[in-house]
Amino acid sequence: MKKLLLGNEAIARGVYEAGATVASAYPGTPSTEITEYIAQYDEIYSEWAPNEKVAMEVAIGASFGGARAVCAMKHVGLNVAADPLFTASYTGVNGGLVIFVADDPGMHSSQNEQDTRMLGKASKVPVLEPSDSQECKDFTKEAFRISEAFDTPVIVRLTTRVSHSQGLVELGERESYELKPYVKNPGKYVMMPAMAQKRHVFVEERMQKLLELSETSDLNRIEWGDRKIGVITSGINYQYAREAFGDVSYLKLGLVYPLPEKLIKEFAAGVEKLYVIEELEPFIEDHCKRMGLNVIGKDVLPMVGEYSASLIRSRVFGASVEKLNTIQESVPVRPPVMCAGCPHRGLYYTLKKLKLTVSGDIGCYTLGALAPLESVDTCVCMGASIGMAHGMEKAMGKDAARKTVAVIGDSTFIHSGITGLIDIVYNKGTSTVLILDNSITGMTGHQQNPTTGFTIKGEPTRQVDLVKLCQAVGVDRVRVCDPFDLADLEKAIKEETAVDEPSVIIVQRPCALLKNVKFNGVLRINTAKCTKCKMCMRLGCPAIVDKGDHVEVNGALCVGCDLCTKVCRFNAFERAGEQNA
């Protein structure tokens, strides 16, 4: 039976069919749905881990324990998990171990555009790259076989367009996979110098065997067509190239690390002109050039952003797209915004009012950097806000610290913010840290986390108590505020930034999109009371619109959170339907 599956859903199906029993992940676009779909199979234990490093360690442990195990993350998550990855490469596996990493060329939802193939090479772990949903499933199953046959973790590299495109997938049955016996084996599992030195030799031998696999595996295949042009490509770029070049010859690579040599030479010898089509790094191209081949790649195609068929046509053939209309109008951009009713709005309104420097972090609340709130000063990586605020204090002094706060979400704080907070306490910092606790992992689409009290399956579990946690690491000044109680929040921030010791304010209000969040109903502006002072415009609420001569509420967007009623000094906001309220 064929079903239309998202690439990420097809990965989950492959994990299921391969008989895997353990999955751990930290959410991150575009990888998140892999684990959400895995969680729908009761045969597989699944969990959200506090971060990608823990997720990978759980998967490694499960593999040592004899299970087929997986972990999933976005590209930058692999940086967090790089430490276990590089040494799991040495230990190898017991049950098959597959690591799904989703890259984001074009940075639809990311802070950088790194290429996971480079980390596969650096860690000497083979990398598979599917180009559609069917291959997502097939390659996942193949990855387990390679993992066990070659005693290695295997990375399956995805990109946004593969993860988030649906395609037809032929479903199969779940393989019965018997847990492999666990046998104590310090030479393999204890990576102290004496053992690791031997395992490194094994890794180098393994690379030779994997190279042989790369030459002969069906994962890498030649599709002969017109031999005037040959295209070496992989992943989603195969699809773009197919549309741009048509019926030429292709070397489609599914195993992109290690790359074959004989196969590439054979292909190159069979065509007149050779192109390499790959987004981001010239990974395949550099390999070809080291082999002395004359290929065309990054000299005509960009190192940045996503490719497309028309981009390839224009860069390779100089083809331009005809404009079919006479419309010349410039269209205003539509950047993402904090939703109507978003709890972060009250906080950023206050931070801007107090003119504080805001060390930012990763989540919906990064949107506080955009107009009109324009409150966030920095955003580097998960958990960085706290360490950076501390660094700013050490560079600029305590006066600067009194004008600086760190903001971090609940899930991000658990991910890697807590260590930064410990650093502040231990090294006598005085920073003020605001934990934005909205009861969920927001930006990635509402995943549970250790602070929500529920597991990935929605089962109740022990909830991390943020107040006690901060107190336990040595923060004496911990308080909880509601970001919609603007007066109390402002008072708290003024007091905590003024004191000469570390403090934490837990800014607590659930995400407006959570089902249990109920507001009071749509508002409107009483034009008789409105003085057009436009104080409410400073909130950056998508439901309050400046029409030039008047301000109005967009009733289709307003949720009735009432934050605007707290900044309006003229009581001009009233419940729609209430005349003369």
């Binding site: 649906q166 699809q239 993402p336």
Partner: protein, 192 residues
């Protein structure tokens, strides 16, 4: 079979993801090969969102490019203007007449373009403007704008009505089936 490319454009939060699931289900029953592509994540927070649905004997790239869309289903006027270059000259262009101001317009740094429908109608023959928000309100749920739009589009394809209705039943949560079928009907029977 004839290959067909459908683009759905709108604002994050308008329900384009549900639309693409329903459309994907319908497409699967029609096409030898189908691909549906959408971007999740940050843009779902009120940003400009686009979904591509392609069907044919063999679909390679999941992405639709300029001058390639047979149907452009627009959930919002400004987004129709943003993506109009993607429509074929004879494309069926269906535009919800709803306007959602983007942040640069809300804060007065940019103007919402005037007379969008007229500008598009000047260059394209096959344009339908739909008061989808009003139709959805009349059905009792303003969130059903997306299914109203599906109804309008369904009428302009040769795919039997029952296939669309079945896809809606399969895709939406049981408690919302009735309201969505009503919204579909409102769109299907809409005539301009």
């Amino acid at each position: 079979m004839r290959s067909t490319s459908i683009m759905i454009v709108g604002v994050g939060g308008q329900g384009t993801l549900l639309t693409s699931r329903i459309l994907g289900d319908v497409a699967m029953s029609r096409g030898a090969d189908v691909k549906v592509s959408e971007v999740h994540g940050m843009s779902q927070r009120g940003g400009s969102v686009v979904t591509y649905v392609k069907l044919g004997d063999k679909v390679y790239s999941p992405v639709i490019e300029k001058n390639e869309a047979d149907i452009l289903l627009c959930f919002e006027q400004l987004e129709a203007l943003r993506w109009i270059d993607y429509a074929k000259k004879d494309a069926s262009i269906i535009i919800n007449n709803q306007k959602i101001d983007p942040m640069p317009v809300i804060i007065g740094k940019a103007q919402y373009p005037q007379a969008i429908l007229e500008k598009i109608q000047k260059d394209y023959e096959n344009v339908v403007a739909v008061p989808a928000l009003d139709l959805a309100k009349a059905c009792g749920n303003i969130k059903a704008v997306n299914v109203v739009m599906i109804g309008v589009m369904a009428k302009r394809t040769d795919i039997p009505k029952e296939i669309w209705q079945e896809a809606i039943r399969k895709t939406v949560k049981p408690q919302f089936v009735d309201i969505n079928l009503k919204a579909f009907e409102a769109g299907y029977s809409f005539s301009c």
